[in-house]
């Protein structure tokens, strides 16, 4: 197991290097100039040039890339131009929000998505299947922005169950923390539930038609045991893969939800960084995201070995 982890981390190194080069080039190739954003509307060309010089943006691109790599090797991810703080500290302040949101939404998604998908597969081509799949399709295709706003109007303004927006840290008040996250997490999980239900249904359909399931039934095993022990267990590989994808998108793709619910998470930070052409911030966050996705993939691979004993990496 340790060898597997070490191997995977070694294999991830070139991925991280490519991600970091892409992150650097993509943000630097965008038109627009952070010096203009920092210097302000009324700044003279001389003032803008001075800002650019102070930030080292007047150096050739390849030299800037070299300096960035040198700093990375020293564990220095750089400092945000717009926030005047280190990228790691800016990320550290916002990561708890994004992680809380992602994990809560996954916690909501897993039981509902898997159960709905399994039920749809079991009752395939019945009204139950059609209803579940229609709802799943709605969840996948409804614009998160629109649904989130409707949910605020209903649950916050009309029913007053939840706050309209904002975030309370867990250590400050666990109840308020939960209240501030329930609505955004539910909204984020709508897409995820739809996705996971469809993946689970597909995986379960494959398995339910296998010989060993028929054999289990023939030898008189109860339906619950047949489905849960023989069918579901064998469908897990695909479901675990789907969960890995969902976790990645929940961490990286909650921008819209963070925006609507005014949550100070990493998604909003990246969007602001891109708009302000905050090169070090966007590069640093993309690199840290790269690490996170590699770790999630590694975790998924490890779970494969638990879910299916036939999977071996040695």
């Amino acid at each position: 197991m340790l060898r597997l982890i070490a191997n995977r981390i070694l294999q991830a190194a070139p991925v991280i290097v490519v991600v970091s080069i892409l992150a650097f080039l993509l943000i630097n190739l965008l038109p627009g100039d952070p010096a203009v954003v920092i210097a302000g509307d009324q700044a003279s060309p001389e003032a803008i040039a001075a800002v650019r010089h102070n930030l080292g943006l007047d150096k050739p691109l390849i030299e800037q890339l070299g300096i960035w790599f040198l700093h990375l090797l020293q564990g220095n991810f750089g400092a945000s131009l717009m926030l005047n703080q280190s990228v790691v500290s800016a990320m550290g302040e916002r990561l708890p929000v994004t992680l809380s949101l992602a994990l809560l939404s996954i916690a909501i998604t897993l039981p509902i998505g898997i159960f709905a998908g399994a039920v749809a597969a079991y009752y395939r081509q019945t009204w139950i299947d059609s209803t579940v799949m229609t709802l799943a399709l709605l969840g996948v295709s409804a614009p998160a922005f629109w649904v989130a706003i409707l949910s605020i109007i209903l649950f916050s303004v009309t029913l007053r169950w939840f706050p309209t927006g904002g975030y309370t840290p867990f250590m400050q008040d666990p109840v308020l923390w939960l209240r501030s996250l329930v609505l955004p997490a539910v909204m984020l999980s709508l897409f995820q539930i739809g996705f996971l239900a469809r993946m689970t249904r597909s995986a379960m359909l494959d398995v339910l038609s296998q010989d060993y399931v028929r054999t289990a039934r023939a030898k008189g095993l109860g339906e619950w045991k047949t489905v849960s022990k023989h069918a579901f267990r064998n469908a897990l590989i695909l479901i675990v893969t789907a969960i890995g994808i969902l976790l990645s998108t929940a961490i990286g793709g909650s921008v819209v939800i963070e925006q609507v619910f005014a949550l100070p998470g990493v998604g909003r930070l990246v969007v602001q960084g891109i708009l302000a052409r905050d090169y070090p911030l966007v590069q640093g966050v993309m690199l840290i995201y790269g690490f996170a996705f590699v770790l999630i993939n590694l975790a998924v691979d490890l779970i494969y070995t638990v879910a299916d004993p036939r999977v071996r990496y040695d």
Binding site: P31, V36, M82, G166, L275
Partner: protein, 521 residues
Amino acid sequence: MADLRRRDFTRGALALSALTWLPLSVGSAAADPKKGGILAYATVSGPGGLDPHVSSSAVELEVIHNLFEPLVTLDNQNATKTMLAAKASASADAKTYTFELRKGVKFHNGDEMTSADVQASMERYGRVSPNAANLAGVERYETPDPYTFVIHLKEPNVVLLDVMKAPVFPFMILPASQKDKPARGVDVIGTGPFMLGEWVKDSHLVIKRFDGYSADQSAPGRDGYAGRKTAYLDAVNFRFMPEATTRIAALQTNEAQLAGSIPFELRGKIEDHPELAIREIFPLGGVYIIVNSQYGATANLGIRQALAAAIDISEISDAVGGINKPNPWMSYPNTPYYPGDQTPAPWYDQKNPAKAKELLAKAGYNNEKIIIETNSNYQWMRTTMLVVAEQLKAAGANVDVRIVDWTTNASHMQQGTGEWNLSTTLFGPEHILGPQQWRPLIYAFSNIKGNDALDADYKAFFADPDLKNRREIWVKIQQEVLGGGYMIKIADTGRLLGYAKKLKGQSDYAGILQLWDLWLE
């Protein structure tokens, strides 16, 4: 020597206009102010930093103007008024400015403000501010005693106080200990009625009442950015909510009592609520088409003037919506430099495609591409330029509309880079400040180079002590800029603020957010 005193400086040779102190307020002015309470203000986004000397961003200035104070500032008629200075005077040759400081003014750290702090602040401003060019004419500073500060200039500058009252890149006074701090690196210590509390980036920022605040007791009450300020609220919590619907929902649920930037089409959501109301803030700024005078066909004066002839302002205003009022000038009505309704402005709102076509032919237009650059971030800018594109097409221009993001768009306009002929932007409070604040914008945005008439007019403006003459020069400058098609004025525009009716004491002065003299019933 011309003296500028609180409530009594209109006699001075450098004064801008006659003014009277007018107490203006929204809602019930009769109710007794009540101390206490926390106001939650739902605003679009939070500040990146709180360094007043480098700040031009509206979200930063909304906080900064409640924490810091300058020597001179704007009153509710937008004229110059002393704030931390008790008296400001200029020598007859306009080369020496003397400021007598108010005594007993405390910083948030408890230290008393003296001339050493003022000198350190001015020196820091000259080192770090993007607006430092305005201090280029300073020969030296002098502090003869702890309550006197003197600026010696190399050349006469009759509008130095008008420059120093600017609310953008404000000349705020910081403790001398901040002198060597880098841009965006200051400790947030001012003399304002509020002091910085908790600040969680991207989430919220709290400012607390500064109980040691030294109000200007000589003034009868609030007066624009000046006057006697009283902080009634215990604290103000700026909550950063990018979505307008969320801000309105926060007002409706009383999670916020004040909400900024309400879209015009959503004002009904607030007006229909019995406990909420809308406040129109007008004028917020002026909307202009920027014409790139250094690129392609629009380098040609005749073509620029032809394009201006095709513009129909009412069509644009109807399409964009919101609060828009036509005004051909670069100054607002009722401000010192407004040329008046009778002064002819033939370049404005011509709505004449036939004339435009004729002028294009006369200017030798050969169907070159007129590239309109706009952005995906601001819908009103996009709508404006799409309507403009159709108006220019009707005049026979070969128009190409390109949409980029705002950062790119702004960078292109300000630096004159990229390939574009026309774009659009909104200029904020420069209208109320006057020609001295307009100068860098005029030269930068339209990329004006080699216009000797404009250069000469500005040189004359800065040297002429007579306001009447300066007004006439300002008309000539506008004739050059607008008549020469470097910029095409669209309209003056405003914005909407939503508030709970229990929030009392709001002024209808259209300045940057002022939280003093507000209280919660």
